[in-house]
Amino acid sequence: MQMPSPDARIMARKAQVVARLAQVLGDRGVIHDPAETRAYECDALTAYRCPPLCVVLPATTEEVSAALKVCHEEGVPVVPRGSGTSLAGGALPTADSVILGVSRMNRVLETDTADRIIRVQTGRTNLSVTGAVEELGFFYAPDPSSQLACAIAGNIAMNSGGAHCLKYGVTTNNLLGVTMVQMDGTVVEIGGAHMDAGGLDLLGVICGSEGQLGVVTEATLRILPKPEGALPVMLGYDSAEAAGACVADIIEAGVLPVAIEYMDRPCIRACEAFAHAGYPDCEALLIVEVEGSADEINHQLETILKIARDHDPVEIRAAQDSDEAARIWLGRKSAFGAMGQINDYMCLDGTIPVSALPEVLRRIGELSDEYGLGVANVFHAGDGNMHPLILFDANKEGDLEKCEAMGADVLKLCVEVGGCLTGEHGVGVEKRDLMTVQFAPEDLEAQMKVKDVFDPKWLLNPAKVFPLSVSEGRRA
């Protein structure tokens, strides 16, 4: 993966840039000692690292505006950062860039259960948004697995999803308004506590723009009443085909589970060894969760179990209470940690049409043989969002490169069957160079035109999303 070479003229002016930023933010708001900026050299995609020029941690929208104005005048690129949990390198710095972190801005500004909204500063973590309304009987729906740590700012930048999107949608479906600072320091209010845009749906294009159109400092989010209850059922199958057909039949039957999770044998074995959740040793495991009152849950589970039995399961286990439910989820929730214990792995994030599931799993198996790298599959089956984990040995020369090559082949396969490169992690730097697999030049040109309008100098979050060769004429 290539990054543009840093601008030596900016590097040479570091002292001046730091001084001007300190002038508007105070000395405490700017980090420039190389020993301290190192903490910001990467996000959760740790394979790539680069310490930034300096780091600013503003405390208010006004400070964000003042800092961006300085950077704009100085022609210095800015990399916005939430909690730094991006798996795609969405917050990877360049050596000539200023990291703008929103972590100090984490207050709840307003909660209104009558209008079913919460307004927060975007440094607040995803889970603590739900935490702020839980006692009132509400929750915030998008639930990325990093929800304990990830910030709303990053959720908006990447349009984050989670396990429960089949029913509740992703960030863009739960975002009503933002306060955003443009690269030149202009503060704009878009949307609010009301529904839908009065003119162009600018909120729609800002969400998921990976911090390249502006820095979102405040957000109005939709909160939902907590369901009365939820219970999962675990279904084990001998083949991917049977499990895939079961998922298809459940959805076609008109039941809308809140989550359908899928694990294959390598993943089941790793989770079982790690968490002892009592999973059967089989080819494919499904966890299907439904919500409602006790009777509603039973009614839906009856329908699901009837369908499940038609596909010859090797095991069926319905949770009767929250303890049993927790046990069913235990293995799935520890999947990434369990895999990490036994191997280095790379987590992919392509989405495919649900109907293509058996074919894609078969072809991933073929690629696994071809490259000689193991694969464990764990993913959101209801919405087709795959997370194949390619196993490799970071200490073995050439293994990472081989793993990346295989990952690219898997993502190309996702596109080929009608899917996409990334379902919820974002493009970042990781999938940047594969964008031409999914998009024609005119499709990318149309996207870049939007950036031209919001950030004409192309200073915000440089070298992400668009292949460097495609954005070359535009970048500063």
Binding site: G161, D196, G198, G254, D295, P353, E442, K451
Partner: protein, 369 residues
């Protein structure tokens, strides 16, 4: 009227245009801009319906009715239940799915499941230079690149002509029921609707008609499996007891017809005067309606959507002043649309972004919207 039969022909027609184009689907949702009439109605056909993936792809000119019929065959539906504007506007023609997406048209269920734009998985469009662009796809989770699909949805043709849309569809429901309370004043009705929407009982519609024939009428809708509907109706009546007495209406056809009426603002059919729709915070809706001093008011989306009927030419926005939301002029004479503007004027910083985007996607300024 230019009526291209394919996306390529449409792109050619836009490239060849030497003046403003008046773009439309079925032209049922008015007002139509000045210029050479061009329609996407010739681009028809459902190109994919994958029931197990809850996905439908159709060309923009496909009639909404055809899509709803095709979905019904597998007991699925467009969950956002797009409104039909014809009776309200006195327009004729056939509503198209492209028009629904281009104007982000949603009905009562919007309050629970989201708007048309929330069900959009991807689209293809031709911009003002005649370039064909695709964005998004046909899968439910997709964050690959910028989300132009949502930007173009609801842009009313200002950024381009939509040629194909991919939509998330949802299962239809076995049963439905309405809960009705009578005699609530506007503020009390909105409070009751907010309370209902704040329960876990999945209210899929919440409307209030202050001018109903037998006095103010507040209606809530519940849908799902029969046993579940019965359970939730009972639970809601108990939960809403502080907000009045509620009766159950559960004859399926009667309930469905009533909600079609709510969707299409039947209360305003056959009336005269201008019609406005205001998107607002529910808790401010009653106050907004009071400030409007309208001839007739109708609330949907639990108060999040306020329909107002006013004497012709009234500047509603001047009466409302500042609030969290926006007002769109839906039915008025062309000169009123021109004088008061169809869409809420934006603050300067947003105006600059809108103008910048329109200039980029339509540098010749031929997509009059």
């Amino acid at each position: 009227m230019i009526r291209p039969g394919s996306e390529a022909e449409l792109a050619q027609a836009i490239r060849d245009a030497d003046g403003p184009l008046s773009l439309r689907g079925g032209g049922t949702r008015g007002p139509l801009p000045e210029g050479t009439a061009i329609t996407t109605a010739g681009l028809t056909g459902i190109t994919l319906h994958d029931p197990a993936a809850l996905t439908l792809v159709a060309r923009a000119g496909t009639p909404v009715e055809e899509i709803e019929a095709a979905l019904a065959e597998t007991n699925q539906r467009l969950a956002f239940e797009p409104m039909d504007h014809r009776a309200l506007l006195g327009s004729t023609g056939t509503p198209t799915i492209g028009g629904v997406v281009a104007a982000n048209v949603s009905g009562p269920r919007r309050v629970l499941v989201g708007a048309a734009r929330d069900h959009l998985l991807g689209l293809r469009f031709v911009d003002g230079e005649g370039t064909i662009v695709k964005n998004g796809g046909r899968v439910m989770k997709n964050v690959t690149g910028y989300d132009l699909a949502r930007l173009v949805a609801g842009s009313r043709g200002a950024l381009g002509a939509i040629t194909e849309v991919a939509l998330k569809v949802l299962p239809g429901t076995e049963s439905c029921a309405s809960l009705v309370a009578r005699g609530l004043d506007d503020a009390a009705a909105v409070r009751a609707m907010s309370a209902a929407l704040g329960t876990p009982f999945e209210v899929t519609g919440a409307a209030h008609d202050p001018h109903a024939a037998d006095g103010p009428r507040t209606v809530l809708r519940i849908e799902g499996f029969a046993a579940s509907v019965a359970y939730r109706a009972k639970a809601l009546i108990e939960a809403l007891a502080p907000h009045g007495a509620w009766e159950i209406e559960d004859d399926r056809e009667t309930v469905r017809a009533a909600w079609r009426g709510i969707r299409d603002v039947a209360a305003f059919h056959g009336t005269t005067g201008d019609v406005w729709r205001v998107s607002a915070r529910p808790s401010e809706a009653a106050e907004i309606a009071a400030r409007a001093d309208a001839d007739q008011v109708f609330y949907d989306w639990g108060g999040g959507l306020v329909w107002l009927r006013l004497p012709e030419g009234t500047d509603l926005r001047a009466r409302l002043g500042r609030y969290d939301g926006h007002a769109t002029l839906v039915r008025a004479a062309p000169e009123t649309h021109a004088r008061l503007h169809t869409l809420q004027p934006e603050p300067p910083a947003l105006q600059a972004l809108t103008r910048g985007l329109r200039d980029k996607f339509d540098p010749r300024g031929i997509l009059a919207a």
